[in-house]
């Protein structure tokens, strides 16, 4: 998938801007607050109907604008054109159009244009609480399977209803109709079991991608892996400290990447039912559902040790980037389509070794188009192997324009404009593709 063009109106810092992209590396440069990240946000809105920074569209709305509109033109790897328009107006809500036709539900957009975002806070996935890891997992699975997305939406709705029932019960101090609670429990399990099944299958297949990605960024002997054990006796990924080979033999473990024994959906449903029953007293006391996919943990390990507990700053950083790179590979393999790749300020605080390793990946055949933001072009240009790279200058007020040869600091446009535009400089380093060295 490739993004050809994006138009932003009333969006964050942009009154009205249009950006054209090249098929290779695109670099958006400009000082903080100039609106370069907004361009990535807008692309993300066109891919998944919302920004990667906020769920609240009012935050995205430019001050003084009564609506925002994002229009993006994509070309799939097979050459198919996809035009997405997303318009939001407070009070009237959000509307999405694909190739001119309105989309009934916002979730219907998800999966048409796969997208992967690298951001400086990717290290939070390993460093912070389990909901960061669940969000990462869900964002990937929702993009690769519409069934997963549908089950997740239904699961969340059922969970909300069931929690409300438990809360009412606690408030009144009288047990609710046992048949009503049992009905909500049955509905909850009906949507939870396929989620767990999909997560198990995902973890079993993802470790291969993760290992490759980590090695390409860090070039060290550490071995990353993910482990998922949602229910007693039901798990995927390798056991801590052990060798993958030792684990494959163990009873219910999904264990190794390749031919893992499949756990039947009905077994997962039974285990979920048993877990919910065990937590019966706790959920009555707290007035909310205590177990299920919304509480799942995804263990991220380096050489069998939890990164969350033992990881260094650098390891969190590398792991976060590797997860995103592996996500890119995973989605590409699953969908047969290269995702749109957005990199938000990831190079600004990265050591030269990893910048170089990463730029090599971006310029390799594994990755098609990418769109990167950086405060200063030198951060990237200094390490850039000669190759096609289009540099776009974003100036305060939301303009994007041809990058000046001397970079943003010495440009003639210094900052006061009210309304902007985006232009580009084909900073093609002029060399034919065959001369590229990796």
């Amino acid at each position: 998938m490739q993004i050809d063009k994006v138009t932003l109106a009333g969006f964050r810092a942009h009154a009205a801007s249009t950006v054209d992209f090249s098929a290779d590396m695109n670099l958006l440069v400009g000082p903080n607050g100039a609106g370069k990240t907004n361009v990535l946000e807008a692309i993300h809105v066109a891919c998944l109907s919302r920004s990667f920074l906020t769920h609240n569209d009012r935050h995205v709305l430019r001050r003084g604008s009564d609506h925002y509109a994002v229009e993006a033109r994509f070309t799939s790897d097979r050459g198919k054109q996809i035009r997405v328009r997303v318009a939001f107006q407070p009070g009237a809500g959000k509307r999405v159009f694909v190739n001119g036709a309105p989309v009934e539900r916002l979730t219907d957009l998800v999966g048409r244009v796969p997208v992967v975002v690298f951001a400086p806070d990717d290290q939070r996935i390993t460093a912070e609480g389990p909901d960061e890891r669940r969000r990462f997992l869900d964002s990937m699975l929702c993009q690769s399977s519409s069934t997963y997305l549908e089950n997740l939406v239904n699961y969340r709705r059922t969970l909300k209803q069931r929690n409300e029932l438990l809360l009412t019960q606690r408030r009144r101090g009288v047990p609710v109709d046992a048949d009503v609670l049992a009905s909500w429990t049955a509905e909850l399990i009906r949507h939870a079991a396929p989620l767990v099944e999909a997560r198990l299958a995902f973890v079993a297949g993802f470790n291969r991608h993760l290992e490759t990605a980590y090695g390409r960024i860090a070039r060290v002997a550490e071995r990353p892996s993910i482990r998922y054990e949602p229910l007693p006796g039901i798990r995927a990924g390798e056991g801590s400290g052990g060798d993958a080979a030792d684990d494959t033999g163990s009873e219910a473990g999904v264990g190794d990447d390749a031919a893992h024994p499949h756990i039947a959906l009905s077994d997962i449903a039974d285990a979920l039912g048993a877990a919910l029953e065990r937590s019966g007293r706790a959920e009555r006391q707290r007035g909310s559902t205590q177990t299920g996919p919304h509480r799942d943990e995804l263990d991220m390990l380096l050489d069998g040790h939890l990164v969350r507990h033992y990881g260094s700053q650098g390891q969190h950083r590398t792991f976060g980037m590797a997860l995103k790179l592996a996500q890119y590979d995973y989605l590409r393999e699953r969908l047969g389509e290269r995702p749109v790749l957005l990199l938000d300020d990831v190079f600004d605080n990265l050591d030269p070794g990893r910048i170089e390793a990463f730029l090599n990946i971006l310029q390799s055949d594994a990755v098609g188009q990418s769109i990167t933001t950086a405060a200063r072009r030198e951060i990237v240009h200094a390490h850039l192997p000669d190759g096609p790279c289009r540099t776009l200058q974003v100036v305060p007020g939301g303009q994007v324009e041809e990058a000046m040869d001397d970079g943003w600091g010495n440009g003639t446009r210094s900052g006061e404009q009210e309304n902007g535009q985006i232009t580009a400089n084909d900073a093609d380093h002029g060399e034919p593709e065959t001369d590229r060295h990796d």
Binding site: E150, L165, D177, D179, E187
Partner: protein, 203 residues
Amino acid sequence: MQFTSESVEDLVEQFSKLPSIGRKTARRLASFVLKMPKTEVEELARALVAVKERVRFCTVCFNVTDHEVCPICASSRRNRSVICVVEEPNDVMALERTDGFDGVYHVLGGVISPLDGIGPEDLRIRELVARVSEPDAEWPVSEVILAVNPNVEGDTTAFYVSKLLAPLGVNVSRLARGIPMGGDLEYTDEATLARALEGRVSA
């Protein structure tokens, strides 16, 4: 923008209480009413009041009707041993349009939804159970079709109802195929609905 008349503002307020009517549409409706001839406005007002005064619920199936028993329940041509359970009166109309069902209905008046404060006691579920277990010599109920909407609330209600009906020895089935998950019975086209009726699965 505000109307400089309190009674117009009041009308706008009333309109905006209606489902899917925002402030903007409410103002448009109000200014339309302002331009209507007085006789038409009176007709509208009468129809609104009459619907509350005259319309009542069928004592058998709880569909809306002007009589004590609705025409469907009163008809001798309907098969009263098959009951189709729906959420709202509108669903009855949708199913009647398919022409594929000759049984009778039971309108629950909603679905179980803790978030909306609705439990089984707020719905006509007890009445359904009574209807099914009624030892009626002429028309013993043999089948109950749960035609609730395919969303989490509809599913849960169907599950709950079928649990209550299980000991009564009737055949309980469910509209399943055809209607997209999250879809609304009322807005499903007739052909799809007719297929769903035919392809019902046991609940």
